[in-house]
Structure formats: structure tokens, C-alpha cells
Symmetry: C2
Subunit: 250 residues, 2 copies
Amino acid sequence: MLILVTNDDGIHAPGVAALAESLAPLGQVVIVAPDRDRSAIGHALTLHAPLRADELTPGVFAVDGTPTDCVNLGIHGLLPATPDLVVAGINRGANLGDDITYSGTVSAAMEATLMGVPALAVSLGGETYTASEYSNAGGAALFLARKTLQDGLPVDTFLNVNVPSGRIRGMRLTRQGRRRYADMVVEKLDPRGRKYYWLGGGECDFEYLDGTDCHALHEGFISVTPLHLDLTNFQSFECLSLWNADYPVG
Amino acid sequence: MLILVTNDDGIHAPGVAALAESLAPLGQVVIVAPDRDRSAIGHALTLHAPLRADELTPGVFAVDGTPTDCVNLGIHGLLPATPDLVVAGINRGANLGDDITYSGTVSAAMEATLMGVPALAVSLGGETYTASEYSNAGGAALFLARKTLQDGLPVDTFLNVNVPSGRIRGMRLTRQGRRRYADMVVEKLDPRGRKYYWLGGGECDFEYLDGTDCHALHEGFISVTPLHLDLTNFQSFECLSLWNADYPVG
């Protein structure tokens, strides 16, 4: 088996090494990861500039791009063959609810799915990030990687996996939760009296509803959310279908 | 009515001015857009650096960030009140199928939806991008903006609108199409003989299936795709629910 491992915290983050080590029993693991922290980058793809890939040690590539770039370049340029699986992580911090649309970790798994390769995104919740917590998360990644390689994933679907810190009570299949957003912008003045702004300043709360990713993690369970590529809201077709009829054709 | 207009092609692109002009009959239009081209940036959010907003003319702000930043900063910092509507575009080029996950235009509308503000993403297909084509797309944006303000949108749902070039045959409600990805990476050598890579080099084809966004646009119809924030693949729960039972709880 050939496994591509990537992340968005950068190639020197402890999570990517822990993940590669955990998956080593499955076969050959190649790491292709950003050369620095590219968190909150979403599904950004670098089209306006060339990319460099620096092979730090055999099978470990640092790329001056986004996690999406790493998966794309890994699959089509750096790896000796198409990988059997792409695993992104272990992210330092959970990727839950609506926040997954910003996540470089989740976007890397999405990119692999677009390329037809089964994929997992693995994140570690909590606040301590100890070696034993990364090892627990790696164990969950190995379990789900084995299942994925054996049974396959549903078409166009990848798994968003969040592992709690501390004792793990089990594993739950969950849906993507919601977040309530508060005022997010902090306004400041620079030394010359000109305004500037920081995003992400406000408090945010997840809705801890039963069945969601955030609820499972909060209860001490590994959360496994199957995500797909189709954003279409099919349920809205009925109420919106009347709009077309009114459009004036000239 | 207060309308926030943004884009990902940058504040000096003709599409954003055409859009603001088209929507002017609805009320006050404020433009908050990136200071340069930020295409293919996805749902990237700038958290590691402060942002500047330069008011070029009254109600026209250039921000040194992503389209997502612009919406976030516009809603929480720059506008006098929460806008009634956010419209992103008019993008130079269609945003169809799986490609929407890379799109700054679509991500701007997604960000507004996360903030609880109704939103449209508007893109112009074809290859010529004439003033009259932008004006046609602006007309479609105005029609759908009026509908949205009158009737509202389904919860957590925004519209991805693609307008064809040339004569418009009508408007269709569509689902997100699929794309077949080919080899996407071009490998080159720099003057010193070191490798570098360009992404996006290969040929890509949309699957022109009836009912999809790409099919409607190809047939000369305005494509209106209702998208939502929930990526959960609920249909996969049945086959994946057996996995949890096997997880060893220690």
C-alpha cells in the first residue's frame, strides 16, 4: 500500500510525524506537507505561481504551497504511483461544524476525493497536545485507514475524524454541527493613528446537539463524519422552482 | 436596503463595478473587495496577520485580504449596519461543479450565509466578457436579489448563479455537476536545473449531465444552484455505522 500523508500545520508540526508513524504498518508512507503553517487556508489552490518541493529526507517533501497544492502535487508529480489512501493531519485542534470549510486539513482530504483517492482528515481536540494524545489519534487514524482500505468509502465521500483528548469512550458516526458566530472583528490603531483589523476576535459557540461532531467530541467519543463533495441543497428545489418561471426571457 | 458587494477578481475588475451598478436600484450598495486578484483562494480566512481597508471612494473599500476576509470585515467592521444581502461577483469565468470549492466568489457567499446574511454568488461564463455580457449578468443578479429580498432563501442556503455569454434562453434551477480531473501538474526546470511545478496544466472536462449547472450553462440558460453549508453525506450512514462497533474501547 502507498499512503500520502499531509497536514496544514506545516511539515515540522508534531502531528504529521505522529500520523506517518502510526500508518507505517500499512505500507509505504510519503509525507508531502506545506513548508510552514497554512491553517485556515481553506481549499486554496496556487495557480498564479510555481511551486517548489524540497525532499528533506527520503519520502518527506516540503512544498511552498497550501495543503490542497500538496495533495495535487503529491498525486500527480511527487509520488511514484497513485496512492491508495490520503490522510491529512493530525491537526492541532479539532475541525468541527461549519469551521471545516476554512480547514486546510479537511480541504486536503476533499482534494484527494476529487482526484478519486479515498481520504481521511484527522484532528486532535483539547488543549494539551501531548505525545500520548497524538499517539491515540494516530491509533484512530490507523483503525479507520484499515477499514477504508478493506471496505472502501461510499462514492465521493471522505471522513472527517476528530479525536478527543484524554480517555476515549468509543467512536461515533456524526453529522456536521453548527456554530453560532459572534462579532469577529477587532479594530485597532497603528502608531500613526491608522486603523487596522484582526479577524477572529469574538467568542464563538458550537451548538452541542446530539448527533453532531462537536457533541460527540465533547462527550469523549471519536467523531467520524462522512462528508461529500455535493453542496446542492436538494430540499430547497420545491420552494425555489417557482422563481425561474418569472424570469423574463428577452 | 443595504447591499454588500464583493468579488475575488479584485476591486479593479470590471465585474464588481457592473454588479454594484446593477444592484443600485435596490438601495445603498457598499463594495468591499480584495485589493488584487484572489481567485482560487477558496474559503481562506486571514487569522495570522492584520488587515487594512482602504476607502478608495465613499462606499468602496479595498482590503488586503481574501474574499472571505472582505465579507467578514464588511459585516462586522466597515458597513454602517448588517447588510440585507451580500452579492459576490460578477466573476470573470463560470464557477461550476466541483470547482466551486476552490472559488473565492462562492466562498464569499458561503461566509455571508455563515453570518446569517442571505447571499448570491454570480459568475459570467464564456470567453469574451464584454460590457453587454456583464450587463446581462447584472440583470440576472438584480432579478435574483429582488426575489431573495422578497421571499427569503431556505435556511443556511445561498445561490450559485452562472450566466451564459450571448443570448440567454431562460433560467434553470440546477444541481452541482461533476468534473473529471486529468493530470494537472506540469514539471519544469529553472535556469539552474532545479525542478519546479505548475498546477492546473491538464485538460479538465465537466460531465454535461441533464440537471447540472454545467449542462444548463452550456445550453444557454442561467444556472441557479442552491447550495448549503452541510457537507454531511447522510446516505452513507447506513453502510458506515457498522464500523464504530469494531472500535476497541480501551
